[in-house]
């Protein structure tokens, strides 16, 4: 078979050339940065069942456009490349490899979702590419020792769970607690934080845990069971769609527990109003951002700036969607890191700058909440404030909870 021999020769030849070329690529020092541009990569679910989050990727793009219109950062424009991963980890791996290997981005920013980020966690750290401010509330992103290239952003769900547990132990030490949680990483993280926070007392106080799947149409049955368990405190770990149902159903069947609602569903316009303001009265949540549909912020500078920005750069985005405020905040944080990096936009320095943020304030964070990081602390926002709904707005109460200080 002459064909086979020729073929092998070609294969061998191409192989030798390929291997000779390989080291040349990695020897390049400042990947993804030129004198006029810095490339930032992102993945978001623009399609599929989690597409509601896709607006975060879009609002970030809109903010970077604003930055570019105003001249960019340190003379460089941001080239923001975002791909759709449909919230499917295999697709995230593919798209992130495309960003890192083909598009050669300087860093990865705000990739969304715990499972998608878990899939690329190791890869990013092997490649030594900054994996900054990931959009998930899991705890594992704060692990600078083992994963020095990955950093979280928002307060993690476990911390928030502990905030509620502390409040329960303090104000309702003899309560019977019922919990409803979404059966996935998000729900289980909240649950773990809460149970850890309750400690030994939890074993006695927590009388019932009910789960639901994100594909379930309703959660009526779970609410009925929780009521029947005799629970006097209800910890509600649900996304907005189910939070509306839970608040409504509890009200309809005459169950009036002390109701802790996770931050994820704290929106006035999309959760509390649809559920009924009367039924929502007395809800307790932990906040770290200004809730954009809460009337108390109507004349706040951070809020009005955000509205002006939305109208100009992202007019199709919804003004009652907290996700758009979230994306705005985190995009601003990113630009702060870029500014700090100054004339050294190497990956090492970008990571170093991200890990040395000191008391940074963002326009839509609650007053008093500041971003802080250090080489041993990769959790930028660790403060939260409890708030109670008074039928009209969220009323802040109690001390500011600071996970970093307490640990």
């Amino acid at each position: 078979m002459t064909f086979a021999r020729k073929f092998l020769a070609v294969v061998a030849a191409v192989g030798v050339v390929g291997m000779a070329l390989a080291p040349a690529v990695s020897a390049q020092t400042v990947v993804g940065v030129t004198a006029t541009e810095i490339k930032i990569g992102n993945t978001n679910p623009y399609s599929g069942p989690a597409s509601a989050y896709g607006t975060i990727g879009k609002v970030i793009g809109a903010y970077f456009k604003k930055v570019n219109d105003e001249g960019g950062i340190n003379g460089r424009k941001i080239n923001y490349i975002t791909y759709d991963d449909g919230y499917a980890p295999p697709k995230t791996v593919e798209m992130v490899r495309k960003l890192v290997e083909a598009d050669q981005v300087a860093l990865l920013f705000q990739t969304l979702g715990t499972p998608p980020n878990s899939a690329i966690h190791k890869y990013m750290n092997q490649q030594k590419v900054p994996h900054l401010f990931v959009a998930t509330g899991a705890t594992k992103w704060n692990d600078p020792k083992n994963f020095p290239w990955t950093m979280g952003f928002q307060p993690n769900y476990q911390t928030e769970g502990r905030v509620y547990a502390a409040d329960v132990l303090k104000n309702h030490p003899n309560a019977k607690v019922g919990i409803l949680y979404q059966n996935d990483d998000y729900g289980k993280d909240y649950l773990k934080g809460f149970e850890d926070g309750m400690g030994e007392a939890g074993k006695k106080l927590i009388v019932m845990k009910q789960s639901y799947e994100v594909t379930d149409p309703t959660i009526d049955s779970q609410i009925v069971n929780l009521k029947n368990s005799g629970a006097t405190v209800f910890f509600n770990i649900t996304i907005p769609k189910f939070a509306v149902q839970a608040i409504k159903k509890a009200h309809d069947i005459g169950w009036k527990p002390v109701h802790y609602l996770n931050n994820v569903s704290s929106s006035l316009a999309t959760v509390l109003k649809p559920a009924g303001l009367e039924a929502s009265k007395g809800l307790i949540t932990a906040l770290y951002m200004k809730e954009v549909t809460d009337p108390q912020w109507r004349n706040d500078k951070g809020f009005t700036d955000w509205v002006a920005f939305m109208k100009k750069y992202y007019p199709e985005g919804a003004l009652d969607d907290q996700a758009n405020a979230y994306g705005y905040n985190v995009a601003i944080l990113m630009t702060i890191v870029l500014k700090q990096a100054g004339n050294d936009p190497s990956r090492e320095n970008l990571m170093k700058q991200a890990a040395s943020l000191k008391n940074v304030e963002l326009p839509l964070l609650l007053p008093g909440i500041k971003v802080n990081t250090s080489p041993t602390d990769f959790a930028p926002i660790e403060q939260e404030q409890l708030a109670r709904f008074n039928g009209e707005k969220w009323e802040l109460y109690g001390d500011m909870f600071d996970a970093f200080r307490k640990n």
Partner: protein, 293 residues
């Protein structure tokens, strides 16, 4: 006992949601022999149209009727424009086309109306009703009544109108139907139109409970399939009953079988359907079509 009754009642309410969409699925299967995976998304889209009208100030029942008319026309247009060209293609090719429609409707709805969930009004009073210690909402009852009314309409339509008869004939035996002068193509379009109407009714009954968003129907359609499979795809009444059974059984399993709990209740409901199918391969009330080979 009280819990049991409360669980059954809420199971019926949830089952009513499944039943409403299951009817639309069965309708189109009856009329065209196709399973339309885009049925739920078409219903969601119609509900958004209704929402837009309400938002523009149209009174509820005006918007309701307007939506039904638009859904009917929309269903016909979809059949004529999208399904017609693949009418004679293999059945799975048609299924792929309906999957294409599914993603289009879902994506376009998100694009037009964003993914922010919107409250949708119910035509029924919002005050919860109470019988003894068992609570239920007026909307749940209203929704079940509406579903049963739609079922009655379908039954009357197929049983007593010549048009219904022609539609059934066109679906069962297109060739002979054509020979006796039935315009088979238009019968199929009519089937799509009517299914879209029933879907729209379902959407407008479901949205007040689940709040309106582009993924409103994702989960519901899965359960509607389960209900229709259980009851039989050839029987509208069976499909409705199937929806109710799935709703109630799932609740009871989740409540009373502790090692399954809420984490596996859907799996158990699915397993139950498979078991039923093994005994009755065409569902509880389905008729197996006798084919000449």
């Amino acid at each position: 006992m009280e819990v049991f009754i409360q669980q059954v009642v809420s199971g019926l309410a949830t089952g009513g949601i499944y039943a409403a969409l299951a009817l639309a699925l069965v309708m189109i299967y009856q009329a065209t022999d196709v399973v339309n995976f885009a049925q739920g998304e078409m219903a969601m889209f119609a509900t958004y149209i209704c929402w837009s009208m309400l938002n523009a100030g149209v009174p509820y029942w005006g918007a309701f009727l307007g939506t039904l008319v638009l859904a009917f026309l929309g269903g016909i247009v979809v059949e004529r424009v999208v399904i017609r060209p693949v009418e004679n293609a293999p059945i799975l090719s048609i299924v792929i086309v309906t999957l294409g429609l599914l993603v289009i409707f879902n994506s376009v709805a998100g694009w037009i109306w964003t993914y922010v969930q919107k409250p949708f009004p119910s035509p029924f009073p919002s005050k919860p009703l109470k019988a003894g210690n068992v609570f239920f909402s007026a909307h749940d009852i209203g929704e079940i009544v509406v579903t049963l009314l739609v079922l009655l309409c379908i039954w009357l339509f197929f049983k007593f109108t010549p048009l219904g008869l022609a539609m059934r004939a066109a679906a069962h035996n297109p060739v002979s139907s054509r020979l006796v002068g039935i315009r088979v193509g238009w019968m199929l379009a009519l089937g799509w139109g009517l299914a879209a109407v029933f879907g729209a009714v379902a959407g407008m009954m479901i949205a007040p409970v689940l709040t309106l968003e582009p993924n409103l129907m994702g989960g519901v359609q899965i359960y509607a399939f389960a209900g229709a499979t259980l009851g039989g795809f050839t029987s509208p009444g069976g499909a409705v009953l199937g929806g109710f059974i799935v709703g109630v059984v799932e609740n009871l399993v989740g409540t009373y079988v502790s090692f399954i709990g809420t984490e596996l209740k859907f799996t158990v409901a699915l397993a139950m359907i498979i078991v039923v199918l093994l005994v009755k391969p065409t569902g509880l009330f389905g008729i197996s079509v006798v084919k000449r080979v």
